[in-house]
Symmetry: C2
Subunit: 522 residues, 2 copies
């Protein structure tokens, strides 16, 4: 353990006491070097509101903060509680930009205080508090390291997420819940659900009930009620859930149930733009998600992802029907592609959702796109600068290069992931402000329930701190070695909390540990 670097941040580290896992670093904080006892009790969390989100969070954070039963009633002096005060206890779905700021004061004696504007800010602060408490095994007491603390925190970027892919492999509900559990541990707030792709379509559609005939099996499917449960599970943890139906490429699985939406059964994608059935299906399917068909929206999020990537129009030009449709309208195949992605975006906009599309739509069609489109930049980061210069909001998850945020790129180590600064090629702050944030992308070709979590963690933590913590602080933390120390402690904490984070120093993300060793050093 590089004790010196941690001590430079004012944390107490002794040989008997590995550092805590304050991750991501707060925006502003001061702290000391005391280690007051923290006196666990059933009434430890004192909430200004008994709304369900906060009271359920107090139960969760009670278990996370005090995971050992020390028996009897804690006595003596020390920190006796955490008073949580929110200005507004409304529990509505957390949309992009929902205030996540909080202030946390941890004294050396008495009651710690957490204040936030929203319940979701309070969740972020409860997470921070839980990370400041450790068990002193020799003394059989909980303590707060580095006290007293004064923390004023808020995220740098409002969109900090993970994409999961339920098409290349079905991810069980238990797996998705476990991933959602883990996101707030790093203050992440978006689950991007890449629901369907060429390989399978697992979701129930009530308007098009044959869509899930494209699932891997009759058991590898999601009921809409399952999805609603997942969305609420995420909401309660301050996590938005955005669905993606990738189209018109990556949609071959749709034709298992509805062959009429594909060019042919042997050449299945991009979807058949010449058929009314295609547009009827898209309109109805998105309507089920957004509530535009009437009834309750399945996904309340203001954003919906429409894919748009990797479109090869060969299946269109091979089809006489589609070729005629294009030539009747004087369109090239590429213009047909533009037509498709713009029309899909219009459907989303008409259903009161902002469309998110992969960067190819900007590469091809530039400012033809509706200016409410969010461009999801998976290609080289230089494109990000062009996208925001053109006035579009954007998300970063660059695939190429040694600092990729594609988590299926197993050889990209955490330091590179961490060092990936979204605005490194953007000179004007006003343009950096158009970067809404970014995501780790867990493409599922070789990730099923058995190995997904250790592929995601701990590297997703590197993305999380990059997106939460001010730029100057992350630069300093990486250079000093402090980030390395803390991400090791963070990984150990994830393991304690039941998350299968892999060893930090693995050459390939999810490898087994190379031999016997402690969690803080592997």
């Amino acid at each position: 353990m590089a004790t010196a670097a941690v001590a430079a941040l004012g944390w107490l580290v002794t040989s008997a006491s590995p550092p805590g896992a304050l991750w991501p670093l707060p925006r502003n904080y001061t702290n000391g070097n005391q280690t007051p006892t923290v006196l666990a009790s059933p009434s430890f969390f004192q909430l200004s509101s008994q709304c369900k989100t906060l009271s359920d969070a107090a139960v969760r954070y009670g278990k996370l903060t005090f995971p050992h039963d020390l028996g009897g009633t804690a006595a003596g002096t020390g920190i006796t509680g955490l008073k949580v005060t929110v200005a507004d206890d409304s529990e509505g779905y957390p949309q992009l930009g929902t205030d996540e700021s909080y202030s946390l004061t941890v004294p050396t004696e008495g009651v710690a205080e957490l204040t936030a504007k929203t319940v979701y800010g309070a969740l972020r602060g409860m997470e921070t508090f839980s990370q400041l408490v450790m068990l002193d095994f020799d003394g059989e007491r909980y303590y707060a390291y580095g006290a007293p603390w004064q923390i004023d925190d808020a995220p740098r970027f409002p969109w900090r997420g993970l994409m999961i892919d339920t098409s290349r492999h079905f991810q069980t509900l238990a797996s998705i819940r476990s991933v959602i559990d883990s996101l707030p541990y790093a203050k992440l707030n978006v689950l991007h659900w890449h629901m369907s792709d060429s390989q399978s379509f697992p979701m129930e559609s009530k308007t098009h009930p044959k869509l899930w005939e494209g699932s891997w099996s009759a058991q590898e499917r999601y009921l809409q009620s399952d999805i609603a449960d997942i969305i609420e599970y995420a909401r309660a943890r301050g996590v938005r859930t955005m669905v993606e139906f990738d189209m018109p490429g990556h949609a071959g699985s749709w034709c298992k149930g509805y062959p009429e939406v594909c060019p042919s059964t042997s050449c299945t994608q991009p979807l058949n733009l010449a058929s009314n059935a295609t547009w009827d299906l898209i309109t109805a399917l998105l309507g089920e998600m957004t509530g535009a068909n009437g009834g309750k929206a399945l996904f309340e999020d203001h954003y919906i992802h429409l894919g748009g990537d990797e479109v090869n129009t060969n299946c269109w030009t091979k089809s006489s029907e589609i070729s005629k449709w294009l030539s009747d309208r004087g369109m090239t195949a590429d213009q047909g592609y533009a037509y498709f992605v713009k029309r899909a975006a219009e459907i989303a906009l008409s259903q009161k959702r902002r469309p998110v599309q992969w960067v190819e739509v900007f590469d091809h069609f530039g400012t033809q796109l509706d200016n409410r489109t969010i461009v999801h930049v998976w290609k080289d980061k230089g494109t990000l600068a062009k996208v925001v210069a053109a006035g579009y909001d954007a998300l970063l998850d660059n695939s190429p290069g040694s600092d990729s945020w594609y988590l299926d790129h197993l050889s990209v180590a955490w330091e590179a992931v961490y060092g990936n600064e979204p605005c490194s090629e953007i000179s004007e702050q006003s343009q950096c402000d158009r970067v809404m944030g970014g995501q780790g992308e867990m493409w599922g070709e070789t990730a099923d329930m058995s190995d997904e979590e250790q592929t995601v963690w701990p590297r997703l933590g590197a993305i999380a701190e990059r997106l939460w913590t001010p730029r100057d602080k992350t630069a300093q933390a990486l250079a000093s070695g402090d980030a390395h120390n803390r991400i090791q402690a963070f990984r150990c904490m994830l393991n304690r909390r039941g998350i299968r984070a892999a060893p930090v120093n693995n050459k390939d993300a999810r490898s087994a540990p190379p031999g016997p060793g402690g969690c803080y050093v592997q």
Copy 2:
């Protein structure tokens, strides 16, 4: 899916409906081909006793049997409940031989009935029932496949376990709980806790509080209260917990806190048999476990594992003190080894525990061993025949060969594990009866919290069916392909239940899936 083989067992399989995961196969059963609806309700489980073990199990099995919220109240005809009747509702710690038999009747309409002599037998039957219920996604209803069922079940061997190793890597409490969750899914009933080894000593000792100075870090430790919680967690699931302190070899971590029990700081094991401090420590440490020091036993199990394997006496002969001690008594170093393991066994016996020791103690000392010693055969299976012929009770977990039950042998596929018949080299039934069962051994050199579960599963399932199901039925299931079909379905069920079981057909146990695919075929 090899539908025919499953259909041969009378199960309903359609292309839209993958088979259920009845695993392990019951001893005796008949069944039909109906698929009655199962009507979930809060009062589905009707218990003859409200003892905590059964009522908690009903909550757990409610979630496992009915994991989807179908909304509203189920109506119509079908199976309306499971009546659970136990002859004896005592909840004492389940010792070896505790009756696990049960009878289960699943009709096509009305109430299913489960009867058992003990609460632990009832748990086994609830597991079986939960495996007979599937969700029909298209019909949005639960159903029992292959009804009506009449099952009369009991295990072939009474000892069916998993060894975990918390010395090469610390395993977090969350990881151990997850593993314990999974054991009853395959009707396993023993957690063998290989607590300490050369690399680390993670456990709190109240008589020798410096022992855990041999832990990897001050956070990678177990309080005794943590261990008590784990033991109770396992008990509530019908799982015994047996602790192992491997000695006199594999004990170098003890000298971090107590150098006086080792030959020297540079040559740490086998433990110093010439020092009273060694015997005082062992007596006191075992006394903490067994309650012989006064107070409550930490481990109530009637068996305690004392290791005894891989003893190289070089550190003894290098020590002038120990060499003198041996020569004063006219002992060779090997006789000193015999002295050690027998004296350790005597301490256990004096504390009312039967000692379990690895097979080297039999290889070296044969019938010199107390006849209450259980010989744990990790070497070739031929030794097992010799051990039981000599009148000792024995456990199987052979390491060598292509059918090893060492789960860290990653290239051993599930079929080989399944095909490993404990009594294949034993001709007399009376000697086979001395085989108490066996275990999968999860040695922890390259298994930490991040990869342990997918190293263990699904291969531990193969061991579980081998040890539960009658010999003729396992032979038939393997030959017909039925076992292959069912273990794939079982793996998918484990994934649904949150257990990270790896793809069945992996060449190396815990590899990632090779590409996109469904759970039932990878």
